[in-house]
């Protein structure tokens, strides 16, 4: 089976007087319906790997493939098109646009992808309802609690029904109760909708809830509990 996203010999080096290698020679495939936790100490390249898999960054060497297609030769706007149709991002900070209400934040990527506005709105509302954010819809981000903002951010990542959700320390700023419920949400997304999720975290307790753990050290994978595709 072709993995959803696959890294083949990916190395990313930041240029400079003293070049810094963020990740080196990564081979990693993530299939449909996988819930992967990426762990490792600070500076081990967890986030860098996530950005590379999410096409926000390009590898210095190696290739990133999305559903078997090599992305190396694609233009910036082609990558953007893949991001908005197939991928969803959640970051450590909610990163909602402060000028827009929760509902409008969801509608931004949806409208960019296009479609009948009424239908988009109905879908966004349904999504927020499902995540228990029915009351938050018309509120601006700074009127929401931290936990709710992060849920809205997850909802926004799901807005265009992506095949792969990439989350970078999504619980980093949440208390343990909210963090746990975030992972409940991830589990249900994988279980009910067959999406794949890659979560970067340094909370071992939460990481243990993922079905597959990938551990990084100094930019290399040192442990992978279940390499499905290879």
């Amino acid at each position: 089976m072709t993995p959803l996203v696959e890294a083949r010999g990916v190395t990313r080096t930041l240029p400079g007087p003293v070049p810094v290698t963020l990740v080196r020679e990564i081979d990693l495939g993530i299939g449909a319906g996988e819930f992967v936790a990426v762990t490792g100490p600070s500076g081990s390249g967890k986030s860098s790997l996530l950005y590379l898999l999410g096409l926000l960054d390009r590898p210095t060497e190696g290739h990133v493939l999305i559903e078997g297609e090599d992305t190396a030769g694609l233009s910036a706007s082609a990558l953007a098109r893949i991001r908005r149709a197939r991928l969803g991002f959640v970051f450590q900070f909610h990163f909602l646009l402060p000028e827009f209400t929760a509902l409008e934040n969801l509608l931004l990527p949806m409208r960019r992808l296009g479609g009948d506005d009424g239908a988009l709105r109905a879908r966004a509302e349904a999504l927020l309802e499902r995540l228990g954010l029915g009351d938050a819809m018309a509120k601006l981000p700074d009127q929401l609690s931290g936990g709710m903002r992060q849920r809205v951010a997850v909802a926004r990542a799901l807005a265009n029904d992506p095949v792969l959700v990439l989350a970078d320390e999504p619980t980093g700023n949440l208390d343990s109760r909210n963090a746990a419920s975030m992972f409940d949400l991830f589990e249900s997304l994988v279980a009910e909708h067959g999406r794949s999720i890659v979560v970067v975290t340094h909370d071992p307790g939460l990481a243990a809830r993922a079905r597959r753990q990938v551990r990084l050290m100094d930019g290399r994978i040192v442990e992978d509990t279940g390499a499905v595709a290879a």
């Binding site: 986030s47 706007s77 953007a80 098109r81 908005r84 991002f89 970051f91 990163f95 402060p98 960019r112």
Partner: protein, 415 residues
Amino acid sequence: MLALSIALRHLGRRRRQTLVSVLGVALGVGFFIGITALMRGFQTYFVAQVIDVAPHITIKDEYRTPRLQPAAIAFAHGAVSVRGVKPREELRGIRDARGLIAELEALPGVAVAPGLRGAALLRYGSRDVTATIAGIEPARERRVGNIEKDMTAGRLEDLRSTANGIILGIGLAERLGAGMGDTIGAVAPSGNALSFKVVGLVATGIAAIDNGEAYVLLKLNQVLQNRPNVINAIRIRLDDVTQAETLARRIEAAHGWRTESWEEANRNVLSLFVIQNAIMYSVVGAILLVAAFGIYSIISTVVHEKARDIAILKSLGFTEGDILRVFTIEGVIVGAAGAVLGALVGEALIFGLAQVRFEQAGGIIRGTGGFILARELWPYVAGGLFAVTASAVAALIPARRAASLNPVEIVRGAA
């Protein structure tokens, strides 16, 4: 449009900053409109005055370049140099002036008036004032000049109906201390002297004329100057003023007499206008430029503040083009709002300037009691277009920076 809605939200959230930049542009555009109206108003008035009062073309009894000596004609490239040659004494005046006048009058849209202009010393009581005496034919003159309209007392006809009538420029009359009905003496360089009765006063608005010219019948001036039947100036008025220069060149080429269009005659003033305009447009341009920098500053600030949002939008699948569009639209909105508000500022400025009253004593033209303002559409259009263009460019620079921001760096910095 998605980019537009994001741009509007950004600006809406920073009302005060947005308002300040809009006001900056508005002031620039407003002053541009106001000052343009002021300058153009004055210049147009001045040109109209000149065109109105002075003839459109004047044919003089002079040659532009001195005639060549017979020896120089005979030996054009000769090695012989003839020294001490006395120029031929010529009888001054336009030869066959009547024929030339008849020829010109046959042209459509052309009115012609002959005249003999000459200096004379006017004397009233103990006051002596030198003046230019213009001998005119009233019937023809009224079709060429505006003297009739500018007369503050008497009628042009009185020159004919009164024996030895004279019309004085209003300033000239003041200098002489003479009024309507007074009899003044005139002595010409020829030695001839005549007495004239003041039958009219004229105020053209052009100081040089009002203070130094007087009008008598052509025949009388020919007697005074002792130049019987001589005409030394043919004045022409055209229906289409813009043809003046062309016709002047044609006449000069055909007949040789120095022929000046109103543009040539007023070249010094018109060239002054060019400098005046250059100064005005650079000052106003500087105002607009400062306004553009204001826009650059606000869009730069927004880009800086919004770096994180830009990263997010990119992670959501927005392209560099989308980002560029958002911030450029912001600049254009500020520019367009500034242009609209600027039109109102300009309108208010023109209204305000129109209320200003002042007395101006003795200039090159008569005081008008206030500013003359040109009401034209183009400064509004030009100011508006400039504002929008400058704003778009001012926004484009930071917008490009915004578009090229690497989302990873921003997200990494924030985490």
